[in-house]
């Protein structure tokens, strides 16, 4: 560098008062970063939406004949693929949330996180930026799937089903997907904050997150076994899946009564808020936040 360069402007900065918008600006920028990173890694998109789509088609075709919705006659019953549709939407949400929680571990290991931790931002914005960014991605992909998948019936990869959703149904589905995404991403963050390697996170994924999805009524009703019924009722994700299913299937006669819709709202929103709260609490009190 030659001495003709203009001066580097640093030094006396007397304005040490906290900018009021620090929380929202930092949440916004961290969330946008999540989305930008995602769009730069095409393989993540393929992984998060491709695999569930293949599952839906293959399981749908394979189990089509052997699936019977409990409490409904064959005439009126849901086809397996119709039953499975909201389950797959939630699986997409789960995969996306797993990817974004893994990025918590990468951020810590690659050093990006320490840069954020020395910035004058509230610790809660670190959680909210990460979780809201992941939620936006999950919501977008799951909604895309819900709108496009039923169209596969025209190429005979799915049985006949409703696909002409009224606006209200779409809004309600968005609402449920938002809270499910928020809950799962916040849950993933909770594990990722405590785990220091991506390999370790895979363990959590296979013994906690995937079973949680399996036992949420996403894949099968599970009403044949008493213990499983209770495990499923204790699983907060069950209520998100049920709420989404009730939204998508127009005729309530075709679905089991439990859980009632109000309970779906309460548990899904409550679970997301509790996870978020724990995330914020945990991030704030971590004494050695960057080592």
């Amino acid at each position: 560098m030659s001495s003709a360069d203009p001066p580097i402007i640093a030094g006396p900065n007397t304005d040490l008062a906290a900018p009021k918008s620090a929380l929202w600006t930092s949440i916004y920028t961290l969330a946008v970063r999540e989305v930008t990173r995602f769009l730069r890694q095409r393989s993540r998109l393929v992984g998060a939406i491709g695999q569930p789509l293949v599952f839906w088609i293959l399981f749908g075709a394979g189990l089509a004949g052997s699936f019977a919705m409990p409490g409904a006659d064959a005439e009126n019953g849901l086809s397996f693929q119709e039953y499975f549709l909201p389950g797959i939407a939630v699986l997409i949400v789960l995969f996306t949330s797993i990817f974004s929680s893994i990025s918590v571990i990468q951020d810590r290991n690659e050093g990006f996180m320490q840069g954020v931790l020395v910035a004058p931002v509230p610790r809660s914005s670190i959680v909210l930026g990460k979780v809201l960014g992941g939620t936006a991605l999950a919501l977008f992909q799951a909604m895309l799937f819900l709108l496009l998948a039923p169209l596969l019936q025209f190429v005979h990869l799915a049985p006949q089903m409703e696909f002409n959703y009224p606006v209200l149904v779409i809004l309600k589905a968005l609402f449920f997907l938002f809270w499910i995404s928020l809950g799962l991403t916040a849950l993933g963050y909770l594990f990722a904050w405590k785990i220091d390697s991506v390999q370790g996170y895979h363990g959590v994924m296979s013994i906690v997150l995937l079973p949680m999805w399996l036992l949420s009524g996403a894949f099968f009703p599970g009403s044949g076994s008493t213990w499983m019924t209770w495990v499923m009722r204790a699983n907060p994700l069950t209520y998100g899946v049920a709420g989404l299913r009730k939204t998508l299937v127009a005729d309530p006669q075709r679905l089991p009564e439990f859980p009632p819709e109000w309970l779906c709202y309460v548990v899904t929103i409550g679970f997301a808020l509790v996870c978020l709260f724990v995330d914020v609490w945990m991030t704030r009190r971590d004494p050695v936040v960057a080592s």
């Binding site: 560098m1 360069d5 203009p6 001066p7 580097i8 402007i9 640093a10 030094g11 006396p12 900065n13 040490l16 906290a18 900018p19 918008s21 620090a22 600006t25 930092s26 916004y28 920028t29 961290l30 970063r33 930008t36 990173r37 730069r40 890694q41 690659e110 050093g111 990006f112 996180m113 320490q114 840069g115 954020v116 931790l117 020395v118 910035a119 004058p120 931002v121 004494p287 050695v288 936040v289 960057a290 080592s291």
Partner: protein, 309 residues
């Protein structure tokens, strides 16, 4: 004015003492080096000052702000660069700068202007659109520095900033630091385990096993070692050492694979040893004492020995 003031700072990881009663002051506008072997406490000190580790005992102030009580105000006053760059490799240079600016409450036109200024200063304007992962180590370091200058900090904290840089890039880095000090009166605290770098600082302190064992300008520290420094390498050094001590009444230090002698009149001693003990050494060197010699004198070890990290 005092930019950084540390008093009786203590830090432990469980039983292990990382900082033991460390005190020093840095006047503003100074480049202050923290020299020491890896595991000596440099990084812990750096982390405490950059608010990443809590203060366990003692006091630390940055620009008169108590690090313990007013962490957020301290964070606004400091710019921090880490040993491992904190860039998001999947973002471009300008995107990295924007994220950083947002975190410091800068946005809109102010942010654009600041980005322009720091990129120009660090000579990375033409790289604005490049993904960070495509940059060389030297360029990454420049972006890192640009990032930490965005919010016009008064104090820069840099943890081993020349890690992974080739000599050319390291030279550039120091030109940038000198320029910053000269033009903006920024105070710079830099940790290093490299003697060449420590020599470039205005003042430095030496941290070893958590203790501050020396502090002062490089020349003053060198004066701790009297006169010249003689280094002897060869076979069967313990015996040679004994002979030197007995026959020439010298004080001989055995460090690693060599003998070290401090002497007021190195030239004479050199020729004396060379003639008297010809054939008993493979190498005999005379030099002005280096900071390495200072470290050896104070600890009895070389700076590279006993690296724990």
């Amino acid at each position: 004015m005092t930019a950084v003031s540390v008093q009786e700072l203590e830090f432990r990881y469980g039983e292990r003492v990382a900082l033991n009663n460390v005190s020093f002051q840095i006047p503003s506008g100074e480049i202050f080096g923290v020299l020491g072997p890896n595991g000596g406490g440099k990084s812990t000190l750096f982390r405490v000052l950059s608010t990443l580790l809590p203060i366990q005992g003692g006091n630390a102030e940055v620009m008169g702000l108590d690090v313990k009580q007013r962490a957020d105000a301290v964070r606004r006053a400091i710019g921090v660069t880490f040993q491992s760059p904190s860039l998001d490799l999947k973002l471009t240079v300008i995107e990295n700068l924007k994220v950083q600016g947002h975190l410091y409450g800068l946005f809109g036109r102010t942010l654009r202007e600041r980005c322009g200024v720091v990129m120009e200063q660090l000579g990375i304007v033409d790289r604005a659109g490049d993904l960070a992962e495509r940059l060389s180590g030297g360029l990454k370091r420049r972006v890192e520095i640009a990032k930490c200058l965005l919010h016009s900090p008064q104090v820069l904290l840099m943890d081993e900033p020349s890690t992974g840089l080739d000599p050319g890039a390291r030279y550039d880095l120091w030109q940038i630091l000198f320029k910053l000090r000269k033009e903006s009166n920024v105070t710079i605290l830099i940790t290093t385990h490299l003697m060449e770098e420590a020599d470039l600082c205005d003042r430095l302190c030496i941290l070893d096993e958590g203790n501050l064992i020396a502090e002062g300008p490089p020349d003053e520290l060198r004066n701790l070692v009297g006169g010249d420094s003689l280094l002897i390498e060869g076979q069967n050094l313990p015996e040679l050492s004994k002979d030197l001590e007995a026959e020439l009444t010298l004080e001989v230090q055995q460090v690693g694979g060599s003998l070290r002698i401090e002497h007021q009149d190195g030239h004479q001693l050199l020729s004396q040893i060379a003639t008297r003990y010809a054939g008993r050494f493979t190498r005999l060197t005379l030099g002005k004492p280096s900071l390495e010699d200072v470290f050896i004198k104070l600890t009895g070890r070389t700076l590279d020995a006993g690296e724990t990290e």
